[in-house]
């Protein structure tokens, strides 16, 4: 149903992050304006529910941390060495998606063109190694640009003209 179980050490680190988040929520809720000038009852203050939820998350985080410690999280624990070259696909997909959504759309460039550029670059980047190995780089460029243009124009037409949805 879901992904494989992470190691106890990873759970310990995750539990620490969650606990920090929960404490931040509780502090934010505790220091939130209690609207005393409105003379509202204490059980309706705006920080009540976030505070309770923060406490619930904190309790669950502590259980997670204790459980990971009991499972031997600290025995031979070490930070995994991360080789960025091994994760180039993950980095590339993040850079491309964030670049498109933050940098390309909504800043004056026509939507269809921005989308065509994104799709073409995405396809080219992820097919580059295979295309270079097979000696089909020019064909790869053509496929990327054609797919980009067709998808950009079709999405633009379908949303804006056919279903009257506004585009960024």
């Amino acid at each position: 149903m879901e992904d494989e179980k992470p190691s106890p050490f990873v759970d310990l680190i995750a539990g620490g992050f969650w606990l920090a988040l929960a404490i931040a929520i509780m502090v934010g809720a505790w220091t939130m304006d209690r609207l005393a000038h409105l003379k509202i009852p204490i059980f309706t203050v705006p920080g009540l529910v976030p505070g309770l939820l923060g406490a619930a998350i904190a309790m669950a985080s502590i259980v997670l941390i204790v459980r990971s410690l009991r499972a031997g999280a600290l025995a031979g624990a070490h930070w995994p060495s991360v080789d960025l070259r091994e994760h180039w696909r993950l980095i590339a997909v993040l850079v491309l998606c964030l670049g498109y959504a933050i940098g390309l759309i909504g800043h004056g460039l026509p939507f269809w063109l921005a989308s065509a550029i994104f799709v073409a670059v995405f396809i080219f980047v992820f097919q580059f190694a295979e295309r270079r190995r097979d000696g089909t780089l020019p064909r790869g460029v053509l496929v990327a640009i054609t797919t980009g243009l067709i998808s950009g124009l079709v999405i633009h037409y379908a949303f804006q003209d056919l279903f009257l949805v506004r585009l960024p």
Partner: protein, 511 residues
């Protein structure tokens, strides 16, 4: 009964116009393809279609969404059978016997079983939807603030318990969802909470961009982070369902349909649990237990009937309580609100015909999947061989458009990005997404109910536990949590065994 049939007939006739038929056929097709493609889920499909249909009349828009939903849950079985990769999480159980049958050269028969199981499952769920919605709606009228508070908590707790493989993480995700729902202006005093003076946050986090991020971008990242694997499609024969497969396993079909529908009604649990539960129940009751996992027709039939029966089941609490039974149903609920339909306890009083319209939509969707199930196998095999690298960037463009389209603001695109990245990280750490989504949906109901209840009781907590329905719901929450505590389990099993011993002793004395 007769009123219901008349309502259903009227609703079917209402959809018998060229535009609605085309919408239904296209939506079933889109859902079928989305479901079949590994990495694209029903939730993402329904969320993207919600934005595409935002300007359509509500009946047509909801018809499209329900057809996409049903089509996607069915479509997942195709890749499960042909590739041994579940197209959606709901089809994971179908891999076991579906692909085993395909390896025996019976892929066509397996697809036929999946088609008949899915259609019959949808019909069983649909009948339950027609019968139980008025009953549950009447029960829901007795719900007050105290009961709704516990209902929201129960939804998050049970969803966290059942949807992942680590309840603690499921509950954490659910509580985070409840917290996220509280960001922005709160309802009682219009006070800005956790907005950090960002104006756009005052309106809160919109559900659709959050869902599109958690189920769309997160999946794009998940699919693209690993190198593509070669796609090996199994050979297949005729996909026309055999009557004997249906008549021989009619008990399994009815049982799985009822289990699927029942699990659909439980808030936030969804189709994957329905499929696994139906599969497990079929295995327990089967005379051919040894065949399960090795190409059991009964096992595949159970899984496919169960997951599709869950779809109408998940819509029952949407209509009666405004609480979704699954993640795609959460999007459906959001879409209903966007289109001005107000589901909830008063639906059978204010708009009873709408319930029968939804039943009719389910029926039309089942016909759609039957048509595509019998005809589209060759096309689907080609689509399955299509490289993910050509599909994923287009999906992401649709995610961006979908997030923007709801309110025409770039802020929602950034929300989608944030939820996509956070959702991806949480999935890597084994935190399930369904409770998070359910938390975002139920957060408002939970908070309003708690504060309203406290105002009504002047700060007294007793009514949260002393009213009968509230007490039952609180007990369910408590037992669900305690069942995961080993000490409690040991204690109850010891109590059971000593109770059993007591009975045996007294029975022995009696003899």
């Amino acid at each position: 009964m007769l009123d219901g049939l008349i309502g259903f007939g009227t609703a079917i006739l209402g959809f018998m116009n060229p535009a609605s038929i085309v919408y239904a056929l296209v939506a079933c097709f889109v859902g079928f393809i989305i479901g079949a493609l590994p990495g694209l889920t029903a939730t993402m499909g329904v969320a993207l279609m919600t934005t595409l249909t935002i300007k359509l009349p509500s009946a047509d828009a909801l018809l499209i969404l329900i057809c996409t939903y049903v089509g996607a849950i069915y479509g997942g079985s195709r890749s499960a059978i042909l590739l041994n990769i579940p197209g959606t999480p709901a089809s994971a159980a179908s891999c076991l016997d579906g692909h085993a049958l395909a390896r025996q050269g019976l892929a066509g028969r397996a697809m036929g079983i999946a088609t008949s199981g899915s259609v019959l499952g949808t019909w069983i769920g649909m009948i339950a939807l027609a019968f139980f919605t008025p009953v549950l709606g009447e029960m829901a009228l007795k719900f007050g603030a105290y009961e709704f508070f516990w209902l929201a908590i129960f939804g998050v707790v049970i969803s966290g318990n059942l949807t992942g493989n680590d309840p603690i993480k499921g509950w954490m995700a659910g509580f985070l969802g409840l917290f996220i729902a509280g960001i922005g202006q709160e309802a009682l005093y219009a006070f800005n909470r956790f907005t950090f003076e960002v104006h756009d946050l005052s309106g809160g986090i919109s559900l659709v961009p959050a869902l599109v991020g958690a189920f769309g971008l997160a999946e794009v990242i998940t699919v693209m982070k690993d190198p593509p694997r070669p796609v090996m499609v199994s050979a297949y024969d005729t996909v026309i369902p055999k009557l004997i497969d249906v008549t021989k396993y009619w008990r399994t079909i009815i049982r799985s349909g009822l289990i699927g529908t029942g699990i659909g009604i439980v808030p936030g649990v969804g189709e994957d649990v329905a499929a696994w539960s139906s599969y497990a129940a079929a295995r327990r009751a089967s005379k051919e237990k040894e065949l399960f996992g090795k190409g059991s027709i009964e096992g595949l039939m159970a899984a496919e009937t169960g997951d599709n029966a869950c779809v109408p089941g998940a819509v029952i609490p949407v209509l009666t309580l405004a609480v979704p039974g699954s993640a795609p149903a959460a999007v459906l609920l959001a879409a209903m609100l966007i289109h001005g339909v107000n589901p909830g306890p008063l639906i059978m009083v204010e708009n009873p015909q709408f319930v029968y319209e939804v039943v009719a939509m389910m029926f039309i969707a089942s016909i759609g999947i039957l048509i595509y199930g019998l005809t589209l196998t060759k096309l689907l095999v080609r689509v399955l061989q299509f490289p993910a690298v050509l599909i994923m960037p287009i999906i992401f463009v649709l995610c961006a458009v979908g997030s923007y389209a709801i309110a025409s603001r770039l802020f929602d695109v950034y929300v989608m990005l944030a939820f996509g990245v956070i959702g991806f990280m949480l999935r890597q750490l084994n935190f399930p997404m369904a409770p998070l989504v359910l938390g975002i949906v139920l957060g408002d109901l939970m908070e309003k109910s708690l504060r309203r209840g406290l105002v009504l009781s002047d700060g007294d907590l007793l009514p949260f536990f002393s009213r009968p329905i509230a007490f039952v719901m609180f007990s369910l929450v408590a037992v669900t949590i305690l069942m995961n505590v080993p000490a409690f389990n040991r204690l109850t099993s010891r109590a059971w065994s000593s109770l059993g011993g007591l009975f045996r002793r007294s029975a022995g004395k009696g003899v």
